[in-house]
């Protein structure tokens, strides 16, 4: 009887713990995802069709289309983020190794993630505005004869967006890497130090192999988020003047048509683009997973 009561109590406890997240997941994750698949195969009248996909491939071929530009900028942004990634890990490493002023940097380097992106981009866009020395220097160096509006000029806008992203993301993920490095047993590093190991050998031969599971996981996450790679293009210049990325394009599709009567056209096409992108992302995800499994030992959480 006591055992039955305990089992019943256990079942009630489990139901209490899992029911809310599962219901939430079914409503807010599963339903919209299935809905997206159905929407991708419907035209604006609700009739089953492949029109959205035909339009997608057609626009992808057009050299001046927004979607083509969005893909190009997304890949460019991802490439830069990928190259910058090891440097961002090094930032956490040197803070962990207590370079002079590390206590100060540990706090200040969080500022970009603490402050509103809205505020930082607003300040940034004013600093690089026509009254600032950066825009004036660009004008002088390139001998333009005038001060360019860097964010409103297609020659410079995307570079500025990418530089702003690199500037703000320089500290990398201090929380993840700070926490990971903090768990490395101190005695391992102390004995290496007694053996006269240089910092480079310590980093490449002791630290990196020890944190490989984290490296592998981060690599998987980085590659899987390839189509989400974006700077603050929307806040800086509304994704105009050649700065649009795929995520900004998708965001603008919903924002600019929300509440309008023509949403079916926009949403169905958006769903088709999303579906195609997701299929490619699945391929990349599987590929990178296989690669990391081969390169590294198993990925744990």
């Amino acid at each position: 009887m006591e055992k039955k009561k305990r089992k019943f109590n256990e079942v009630i406890f489990i139901i209490c713990c899992i029911s809310v997240p599962i219901i939430q997941w079914l409503i807010f994750y599963v339903y919209p995802n299935f809905s997206t698949i159905f929407m991708a195969f419907r035209d604006s009248q609700g009739v089953w069709s492949l029109d959205n996909f035909t339009r997608f491939f057609k626009e992808l071929k057009l050299p001046t289309s927004d979607i083509r530009l969005a893909f190009r900028n997304t890949f460019l942004t991802f490439g830069i983020l990928f190259v910058a990634y090891p440097f961002k890990v090094m930032v956490s490493y040197f803070i962990y190794k207590k370079v002079p002023g590390s206590g100060f940097y540990r706090i200040v380097f969080f500022l970009p993630s603490i402050l509103f992106a809205v505020c930082t981009t607003m300040v940034f866009s004013r600093i690089i505005g026509v009254n600032g020395f950066i825009a004036q220097s660009v004008g002088e160096i390139l001998d333009l004869g005038y001060t360019p509006e860097l964010l409103q000029d297609e020659r410079f806008a995307n570079t500025v967006v990418l530089l702003e992203m690199l500037w703000l993301q320089f500290p990398g993920d201090l929380i993840i890497w700070g926490g990971t490095f903090a768990r490395i047993p101190e005695e391992v590093l102390e004995s290496a130090s007694l053996d006269g190991v240089t910092w480079w050998s310590e980093f490449t031969k002791i630290i990196v192999p020890m944190v490989w599971p984290t490296v592998a996981l981060q690599m998987v996450l980085l590659f899987c988020g390839i189509f989400g790679a974006s700077g603050n293009a929307f806040l800086l210049n509304n994704g105009s003047h050649g700065t649009i990325t795929l995520s900004v394009w998708m965001y603008k599709q919903v924002l600019e048509s929300s509440g309008a009567s023509y949403t079916a056209n926009v949403y169905n096409y958006l769903s088709a683009v999303g579906l195609m992108t997701t299929i490619v992302a699945i391929g990349i995800s599987i590929g990178i997973r296989k690669f990391t499994d081969k390169m590294f030992d198993d990925v744990e959480f």
Partner: protein, 286 residues
């Protein structure tokens, strides 16, 4: 400050100093954002437009005192936007963490049909973002009446997220003997969870709550989409900036930026240690 250099070889000392110098440049540039915002908030609108980099000629405190009267977006004043921000960030972050930790605890310590599947699903979800669902999600919120309503916060009760993995890993490593001892003393499953296991995960809970709160406090994208009539402060500031051509009050805009940056800065400085040492992913080998 230079204690860490004492036992280093000369070449390493040089490297550490160089790295520190590069870090200093970036750190100063981040501090400059705050300094520039503060400086601008104490200038007049005309001063900001004509000479954005000069120091204020006279300290203009009226930008702060006039903020409640001037800072209006979509009929929402500063106070209302502050309330919206607190509601969606604090309640939202708490609901999410509250649901996720219980969910992860249950999945890591109890066997029930599908418990292992849940882990796999979360793993797939976190490593494989699905694109283009914005339209379907907007329609869903619209159909559920969650656009422009405080009930929108209910969508935060999510357990299938990255934090599930952190909590699950934590509880997997937490010995079950605590629970067994409590069971011997007659505790039921709810008491074991709330009085024995949950208190041990407090630092992790607090750290993840703080990161979620910070992200929600700064979030503008989903608020702009789903809650345009209940703007939070970031959206209010963004909209106010867009309408600047008519309002001509850049001083008030930057005063608002300063005021809303304070809670996040204070929380971060106060709990910096907890934030940076409680979370880790991927494990350590050896």
């Amino acid at each position: 400050m230079f204690k860490s250099l004492k036992r280093k070889a000369p070449a390493e000392k040089l490297l550490y100093c160089f790295v520190s110098l590069v870090f200093l440049l970036f750190a100063l540039s981040y501090i400059y954002i705050i300094a520039w915002t503060l400086m601008s908030s104490l200038k007049t609108h005309t001063e900001i437009v004509l000479d954005p980099f000069s120091l204020p000629k006279v300290l203009n405190w009226s930008s702060y005192s006039e903020l409640p009267e001037v800072f209006y977006v979509n009929n929402n004043g500063f106070g209302q936007m502050l309330f919206n921000s607190v509601w969606f960030s604090v309640v939202g972050a708490f609901l999410q963490q509250f649901v996720t930790i219980a969910f992860a605890y249950c999945c890591s310590k109890y066997k029930f049909p599908g418990s292992e599947w849940i882990y796999t699903i979360v793993l797939i979800m976190t490593t494989l973002p699905i694109y283009g669902t914005g339209g379907a999600t907007y329609r869903l919120y619209h159909e559920l009446g969650l656009i422009n309503t405080y009930a929108h916060v209910l969508a935060s009760c999510a357990g299938f997220n990255l934090h599930f993995l952190y909590y699950r890993a934590y509880f997997k490593n937490l010995s079950w003997t605590y629970a067994e001892a409590a069971m011997m003393d007659g505790a039921n499953h709810f008491q074991i969870y709330s009085k024995v296991m949950l208190p041990q995960a407090k630092p992790l809970f607090f750290s993840l709550f703080l990161t979620t709160w910070l992200a929600s406090w700064n979030n503008w994208s989903s608020v702009l989409l789903y809650l345009p009539k209940l703007p939070t402060l970031p959206v209010g500031i963004q909209q106010f900036n867009v309408e600047m051509i008519y309002k001509a009050r850049l001083d008030v805009l930057f005063a608002a930026c300063m005021i809303v940056a304070i809670p996040a800065l204070v929380m971060f400085i106060a709990f910096n240690k907890v934030l940076t040492t409680s979370v880790s992913v991927g494990g350590i080998k050896g």
